[in-house]
Symmetry: C2
Subunit: 376 residues, 2 copies
């Protein structure tokens, strides 16, 4: 993996991330392919939207169809027919957010599988083994997501466990991959909303020399001001020459604000999940397509959008498909939202290159706020 | 509308049907787009599978989004972005199969809408008005589907009502369209399983000079031998120079057998609905993709198939998507089944041209029977 910065504007960075399966322009947004599919769309369509890298979920794929099966079928790339760069998370966040009856020990975490109720064990070592089976270009250390809210003591204990797990992840990853595999393992900074814990986490992970670092434990219910404060505190602690990945964020506005604070990579289910719920991002704000006002609206969703959906279908048709629960609607909506997110990232990258990121960000945030007011 | 026959082989016919929005090679299979969408797939994908004409459902579209809305949005072609030929049914079959608390009178039928429980009235006149709003190339008379089983008296009364409704449909269609609109109205032969009633129905409809005739009231639960007997009796009663459409049929074997008896056009939800249920048609018979035997099966669904699904995905992946209820699976399955049906139709047409239809039919039926035995 090689990361290079070609331009900066304030704290915002324009870079390129060279990975075994291709090169990613940063700042980058990664669509989420939970079960080995970006829901409703093909890999060719994901790429046509402009995405250069996608994310796969270790937690889901180890439960269904099982990492061993994916490995025997040639790895996740071949299984799902995605030929570009890919990142897999470690499952830590999903264990925290999707399971019940968790039993957490120093060794790892045992939980009940939401798919069939069976007992499953994940540890740093196991998470690395599963990710090795999946074979993504970028893999993530197994961490513990800190609850929100958490006391200082709780957050410290959680962060320190994540640091020890990061070290174990690193050792198992190296043993599995060798150092020359070309695959990269990223560390994850935790520490909740406490700056001193974020500092300690970042310092410990820096010492482990990960080729990239993520910021975890955000978008867990905290106020935006807390999230931005954590970002402003944490990003400067990360190595400037390595990629910075803010996990699980967020809305277009969230992304613009995080890029302004020096973040290079994002992932979120929002464009895809919201699409299926009829919540559509446009250049004029959010359109909730089920709204009766769109019943006979012959206009495209977004007149300034060049996606397949906006080129060929009306809001009235999209509303009809949504009301009739036709899955073609979820698909057309997904194509649009993914395209919208990737256009946003392209705009961000161009603005940084043109040294106009502050202006771009101000216009984008203003337009989003006004648009929402106009359309709802 | 112009219909011309370019070859025949026994009773099987190879023709071309020229319609306002394009030309259809017959024998033809029409994928069903119930709610203004062939479920899960785009019009471009439907066309890429080889389909030249699709079917829209009057019953569903009048309930959702409403025919008046479709008309104001430019008609069904524009609404759903399908530019080729299209046929709409009249709603008669759906009233019969999908509604409860029907009240049937000479005037028409009142029923409870399955969408919202409201009372809806359909008559020959109303069915023509709705279809005029939708604007398909071929429209169908409003008929009453005869119950199965039915006594001779019941079947006669039902057939005679359908004949009177056909006359009223014709009058309203002509008044709405003018005779030079280029759109065509087809009659529907009814009469249940009684040859003498089929004869009477066909004679009455022939006298009304419809440009095409359909055979309705089959695939309603009757044994295959009854269906084939009705076909063998009825088809020779239809004008040789006009297209013959067998409504709602069927499996690949059903289609081959009906072509052998002189049928030119088909529609059925089977390729699309079965796809969503993981029931896949292949050159070696049916694959039920949920079967555990496919869990690690790295082969394409059908090695001899050139569809997008078979070119890029394994049975194991399709099984995984099915088990995980990913709608991409329903979509990939639909693409395959539609392609399979259209390849069957292309094979049928080529065999008729080559005067080899009997051989083709024998090989196809044998292969399907053997394949089912092999794979289940």
């Amino acid at each position: 993996m090689r990361f290079s910065l070609s331009a900066t504007d304030g704290l915002a960075r324009r870079g390129q991330l060279a990975l075994p399966n291709g090169t990613v322009d940063t700042p980058a947004f990664m669509p989420v392919g939970t079960y080995g599919a970006v829901k409703t769309v093909t890999p060719e369509e994901v790429a046509a939207c402009g995405a250069q890298i996608i994310l796969g979920n270790t937690f889901h794929l180890m439960l269904r169809p099982g990492a061993d099966i994916v490995r025997r079928l040639g790895g996740l790339h071949r299984f799902m027919h995605w030929t570009g760069p890919m990142l897999t998370d470690s499952g830590g966040f999903q264990v925290w957010s999707l399971t019940e009856r968790r039993r957490l020990t120093e060794e790892g975490v045992e939980f009940q599988a939401p798919t069939d109720g069976s007992k499953v064990f994940l540890s740093p070592e196991r998470a690395m083994e599963v990710q090795a089976d999946l074979g993504a270009d970028i893999q993530m250390v197994f961490d513990e997501c800190t609850d929100f809210p958490a006391t200082l003591d709780e957050a410290r204990a959680s962060m320190e466990l994540s640091v020890r797990w990061a070290e174990r992840s690193r050792q198992r990853f190296d043993a599995l991959a060798g150092t020359d595999s070309g695959h990269a393992l990223f560390g994850i900074v935790q520490g909740g909303m406490y700056p001193e814990l974020r500092s300690a986490s970042a310092a410990a992970l820096k010492a482990m020399d990960f080729p990239g670092l993520a910021i975890g434990g955000l978008s867990v219910g905290e106020p935006e001001s807390d999230r931005l404060a954590v970002l402003e505190h944490t990003v400067p602690l990360l190595p400037a020459e390595r990629p910075r990945y803010l996990m699980g964020v967020g809305t277009p506005a969230d992304i613009v604000k995080a890029v302004a604070r020096g973040v290079d990579m994002f992932d979120c289910v929002m464009p895809t999940r919201n699409a299926r719920n009829g919540h559509l991002f446009t250049s004029a704000g959010v359109v909730r397509i089920r709204n009766a006002r769109y019943r006979e609206d012959d206009r495209p969703l977004d007149a300034s959008c060049s996606c397949y959906t906006c080129q060929h279908y009306s809001r009235a048709y999209l509303r009809h498909l949504h009301q009739a629960r036709e899955t073609l609607g979820a698909r057309l909506n997904t194509l649009h939202n993914l395209h919208h997110y990737q256009q946003l990232m392209a705009g961000i990258r161009a603005a940084i290159e043109a040294k106009d990121f502050a202006g771009f960000a101000a216009r984008e945030l203003l337009r989003q706020e006004q648009g929402v007011a106009d359309m709802q």
